[in-house]
Symmetry: C2
Subunit: 382 residues, 2 copies
C-alpha cells in the first residue's frame, strides 16, 4: 500500500525528470518555476512548465494498486481504486489557476529577509483539470452538505523519513458546494497527472492557495478541526510586518485559503532594453475565491498615468471565475524618455485592489506578496 522505499539512500532518487527551462529554487524537495515571459504565451500553462512546489520527495505510486482512503461518517474507511474514481463518479472539468502562497516572495526578501523559497513571479499557472467532484465522493461515503462538519482534511502519500505525510484541509462547506468545483483530479490539460503534480490523484480547490491542493492524495477525512499538519497550523498564514520569529503566535492568524487579488508583468523582462515608439506590456492577473479580474491598470511612468489593459481568457461563470486573465496593453513611450518604471495593478470582482508597496505587507514567511508589480527597462536611443 505504501510507495516503495527509494532504491538508494537518497529519498529524492525517485523524483521524475524535469524540463530544463525551469528555474530551480530548491532541488530537494523540488521547487521550480518557468521563465515568467513564457506564462503569457498560452492561456493554459503547459504541464512541463507549470511551477512545481514539492514539500517532500515525489512518491512512486502504482496506479493499478492505488487506493484512496475516505473516512466515512461512522468512522469506517471507504477505499476507492483509480478505476473506481474514474468510473463511479461523473467526470468534471474545471479550468483553474493555482498559485503558490510564496509567489513573488523574492520581492519581500528585497525589503527584509524572510524564511522561504526565492520565488519570482511565476509560481502560478493555469490548467484544465478533470476528475471526480470531491462532493460526489463525500456523498458516496455518506456525507450530506448540511451535516454541519467543519473541515475536510487531506493527506498526501509524500512523506519524510520519519513517516510524516504532507497534509492540509479546506472548509467542509466549500467541499460540499457544487458551485465551488472542488475536484479529485486525475487529469491535467488532457493528460494523466504528471508525477510532479500529484499522480495519480490530487485535490484541486479552485480559488484557494496551492498549499491546500494536496498532491498524491492518499486519505480524506472529515471532522471538527483543521488538518493538524505543520503546513496548516504553523505555516501558510499571514502576519503583520511587526511580527518576527521571536513574537509570532501561529494560532492568531487563519490558515490562508482564498488568495487576494494578484497581477504581474511578464513582458518586458526586468532590465530589458526596448526600442522607442510603442511598447507592448504583457502579464497575468488573478484573484482568489472565484472573483474574476475586472480591470488591469498599467503605468509606464511609475504610477503618474495609467492605461487600461485588454483582458483575454476563458469566459467563466460570475463567482466561479477560477482562471486567470492574460492581459496586454500597447502604449507610446514618451519621446526623450530613457528609462521606464512599468507598473501593473489589478482589480477583482469585489473591487479589491493590490497594495502600492511591499514593505507594509511584508511578513516573516514571505507569503501573500501582491503589491503592484514593478519592472524597470531602458529605452534605446533613436
Amino acid at each position: 500500500e505504501e510507495p516503495p522505499p527509494p532504491a538508494t539512500g537518497d529519498p529524492y532518487a525517485g523524483d521524475p525528470p524535469r524540463h530544463p527551462a525551469l528555474k530551480v529554487n530548491s532541488a530537494r524537495p523540488f521547487n521550480a518555476e518557468p521563465p515568467a515571459e513564457l506564462l503569457s504565451e498560452t492561456f493554459l500553462t503547459p504541464n512541463q512548465l507549470f511551477f512545481k512546489r514539492n514539500h517532500l520527495p515525489v512518491p512512486t505510486v502504482d496506479p493499478a494498486t492505488y487506493q484512496l482512503q475516505v473516512q466515512g461518517p461512522d468512522g469506517r474507511p471507504l477505499s476507492l481504486s483509480l478505476a473506481e474514481l474514474r468510473s463511479r463518479f461523473p467526470r468534471h472539468e474545471v479550468t483553474a489557476t493555482l498559485q503558490c502562497a510564496g509567489n513573488r516572495r523574492s520581492e519581500m526578501n528585497a525589503v527584509r529577509q524572510v524564511k522561504g523559497l526565492e520565488w519570482g513571479t511565476a509560481a502560478i499557472g493555469t490548467a484544465r483539470w478533470a476528475g471526480a467532484r470531491l462532493r460526489d465522493v463525500l456523498a458516496h461515503a455518506g456525507y450530506a452538505p448540511d451535516d454541519g462538519h467543519n473541515h475536510v482534511c487531506f493527506e498526501g502519500l509524500d512523506r519524510d523519513l520519519s513517516g510524516t505525510t504532507y497534509g492540509a484541509s479546506i472548509p467542509f462547506r466549500k467541499a460540499m458546494n457544487a458551485e465551488e468545483d472542488v475536484l479529485l483530479a486525475y487529469e491535467m490539460n488532457g493528460e494523466a497527472l504528471p508525477r510532479d503534480h500529484g499522480f495519480p490523484v490530487r485535490v484541486v480547490v479552485p480559488g484557494v492557495v496551492g498549499a491546500r491542493n494536496v498532491k498524491w492524495l492518499g486519505r480524506i477525512s472529515v471532522g471538527p478541526d483543521e488538518s493538524q499538519s505543520h503546513w496548516q497550523q504553523n505555516d501558510y498564514k499571514g502576519f503583520s510586518p511587526s511580527v518576527d520569529w521571536d513574537t509570532v503566535d501561529f494560532t492568531t492568524a487563519p490558515a490562508i485559503q482564498e488568495m487576494p487579488v494578484q497581477s504581474a508583468i511578464t513582458e518586458p523582462v526586468p532590465g530589458a532594453t526596448v526600442p522607442p515608439g510603442d511598447l507592448t506590456v504583457k502579464g497575468y492577473a488573478w484573484s482568489g475565491g472565484g472573483r474574476g479580474i475586472v480591470r488591469v491598470d498599467v503605468s509606464l511612468d511609475g504610477g503618474q498615468t495609467w492605461h487600461v489593459a485588454t483582458l483575454a481568457g476563458e469566459e467563466q461563470v460570475p463567482g466561479r471565475v477560477w482562471a486567470w486573465k492574460l492581459w496586454q496593453v500597447t502604449a507610446p513611450i514618451p519621446p526623450g524618455v530613457t528609462h521606464l518604471n512599468i507598473l501593473c495593478k489589478a482589480v477583482d470582482a469585489s473591487y479589491n485592489v493590490q497594495p502600492d508597496t511591499v514593505a507594509p505587507i511584508w511578513n516573516l514567511r514571505g507569503v501573500l506578496s501582491n503589491a503592484w508589480h514593478r519592472v524597470t527597462v531602458t529605452v534605446e536611443r533613436e
Copy 2:
C-alpha cells in the same frame, strides 16, 4: 397604492425629522452621516445616527394598505401585505453592516474633483435586521434556486417628479442562497424600520454595497438582465484613474456588488491635540462578501512601524461575516514627538488588504475609497 403626492409644492415636505447630530451632506434628497467618533461607541449603530443616503424624497407609505408586488415566473404578480410578509414567512435576523459606495469620498475629492456627495468616514453603520428571507418569498412566488435566472430586480416606492423610481438588482444566485442571508427587512435594531431607512420594507443584502439594499421596496422581479435603472447601469461602478467624464463608458465596468476591505480611524479625530504617554486609537473595519476582518494594523509614525489592534464584535459564521469589527489599540507616543501621522489598514479573510494611497484608486464618481486611513494629531508638550 401609490404614496400620496406631497401636500405642498416641495416634494421633500413629507421627509421625517432627523437627529441634530447628523452632518448633512445634502438636504434634498437627504444625505447625512454621524460624527465618526460616535461609530466606535456601540457595535450596533443607533438608528437615528445611522447614515442616511436617500436618492429621492422619502415616500409616505401606509402600512395598512402597503402591498409588495412580486412578479411570478409566469409573469403574474403576487401581492403581499406587510402583515402577510410578517406572518407567512419565518422571521430571520441578521447583523449586517451597510456601507455607501461613496463612503470616504471626500478623500478622493482632495486628490482631484469627483462628482458626488462629500462623505466623510461615517457613511457606514451596523444594525440587527429582521425580516423574511428573500429566498422564501421568491420560493413562495414559484422560483427555485436552479431556475437559471440571472438577476433579481428591486424597485423602490421613492420616485422623482417624472415618476422614475429608485431601482437596483442583485444576482439571482445570491438571492436564492440561504447562506447569503438576503432579507426583506421590516425591523432595524428591534424597531420598525425608520422612514429614512425604508419603512415599511427594505432589502438587506449583506456584504453588498448600500445602493443594492433598496428601501421602501415596492416591487420585485426576476429576469435575465440587471435593473435598467440609472443607479445600476450608469452609476456605482468603478473605473481607472485615467477615465474621465469625456471618455467614460459605463458598459465597460461591472455594477458594484461586494465591496472591498475597508477600515477607518474614528478616534482621535483629525487635528486633535492628544496628551503625551499612551495613545488609544479606535476605529472600524469591514469587508464585503462575508469576508470577515482578520487583522487591523495601526501605525503612529506614518507607516514605519505597526501595532496589531484588538478586534471586537459579534462572532459570525466563516464566509458569512456580515458585520464590521470595532478595533482599538493603545501604544506609547515616542518621547519628543510633536505630531503623529496615524494610519490604519485592515486585512480580510481572503487576505485582501487596503491600498496605501488614494490617487491610484481615484475614479470619476469617487466610489470605493478604501486607501489606508490617515489622521494627523498634535501631541501636547509635557
